[in-house]
Amino acid sequence: MKRVESELITNVEELLEDKKIGFFMGYENGSLPLRTSPCFVKEKEDVQRLVWNCFCTNNLSVYLVSLIPELPAGTKVGILCKGCDSRSLVNLIVEKQLKREDVLIMGISCSGMINIDKLTGNLDGGRILEVEENEEEVILKLDTGEQRFSRKDSLYESCKNCTHPTPSVYDILIRVGEHAPKSVCPDPMIAKFRQKERLERWQIFERELSRCVRCYACRNACPNCYCKECFAEQTKPRWFGLSNELSDVLFYHLVRILHQAGRCVDCGACVRACPEKVDLRLFTRMLVDEVKERFDYEPGLSPNDSHLLGVFSTDDTQEFMVEVD
């Protein structure tokens, strides 16, 4: 990891020095152990703050749509992108929210992010002093001793089922091992859920979302949710109530998830942002799989793609339509 970090820092330093970018978005250590926070580097002396480890979870492309119009014209933004982040970014280009030339993508082939809860949930007390990681393990050094966690078992669900660990589009690529695209479709979790009875599916849907407090963190963390006025807050017309009643909560999520159809790259940002740990992926991932199966389309792979719902084929299947004899 140290190699990656120094490669990253040298690259950013050079870019800033040559004035190829106005500033760089990466990660720095957070105020709590095992946490990172987004870091915006403008000056060369701040470059040393940048880090790369298995806790760099945020999808940084979420900032771009609101940030770029605020910058002086012609400023290029450098951004550190994992596989999923780059796909989000490319999807923004496809949706004409960004221009390719406004960003310099520093890609990093990612071996998956670690779910902190899986580590801290298994700690036998003690303060975390230091963290080390290698290909196989994450090692926490505590004041009471050392604890080792298997990397594979501690990954986020979205990372376990990641299809494109290496960025689809990049200007500079930092390699961490070999990560070829792989097909995980359908996601085993989704396939299992599909086999349940209708009523059970609805009950799980309700149970999962009944924990929602409507803080809209899922929406704010999602790079796809860039609407200036969200349907949830529209007043003319007001589509549904603002209450925490289950029907209102379900309405919000049904429509928000439907808005992700053909755009969601399954980065898992919504799940990580959720304070109540609602497993939104159980529903968003279904659309990802459905889109892949039905239209053989994966969003965010090329800036020259057309938006899934912005084009059509006369051969699209229509087996779901009502027929009468």
Partner: protein
């Protein structure tokens, strides 16, 4: 509203339950098809409430969810046959959306019969009547949609 829904859920669904169905019909075909069914005096159940839209491509999935939330038991969206769209391609775009909406609502546990899509041309009065007939029967069998509507306790349990 609340009072009404309480009353309705207490109906014996096999005998006297009459579903409310919202039909979003394209101005250029299905709406005229419904009109034709009317002027030709074809009999079909009076359970549908028609909302005229300029094209099936005008339908936002939000409208479908909103209709269910507001208390209807089923939704039909009907437009021109592929190739016949007044705006050349609106129904082709719509077809992609419809596929995903239908599969997704089914996935989370809303009966697939409750949200339906069809193609009906202006000349197909008989077909329109048949579709409404089929839909109404299917939804009547399912009973009222009690688990996803404004203010409901949403317990997913219909009995």
């Amino acid at each position: 509203m609340k009072h009404e829904s309480n009353e309705r859920t207490s109906f014996d669904k096999s005998k006297s339950f009459e579903p409310k169905i919202v039909a979003f019909l394209c101005n250029w075909c299905s709406y005229a098809g419904a009109d034709l069914a009317g002027v030709s005096r074809f009999q079909y159940p009076a359970n549908i409430r028609i909302i005229k839209v300029p094209c099936s491509g005008r339908i936002n999935p939000l409208y479908i969810v909103k209709a269910l939330y507001n208390g209807v038991d089923g939704v039909l969206v009907s437009g021109c046959h592929p190739g016949d769209c007044h705006y050349i391609s609106g129904n082709y775009f719509a077809r992609r959306k419809f596929a995903l909406v239908k599969k997704f609502l089914e996935y989370v546990g809303i009966e697939s019969e409750r949200v339906q899509f069809s193609w009906v041309s202006a000349a197909e009065g008989v077909r329109f009547a048949q579709i409404i007939d089929k839909l109404t029967n299917e939804i009547r069998k399912l009973g009222p949609l009690t688990y996803f509507r404004k203010g409901s306790t949403c317990k997913g349990d219909q009995t």
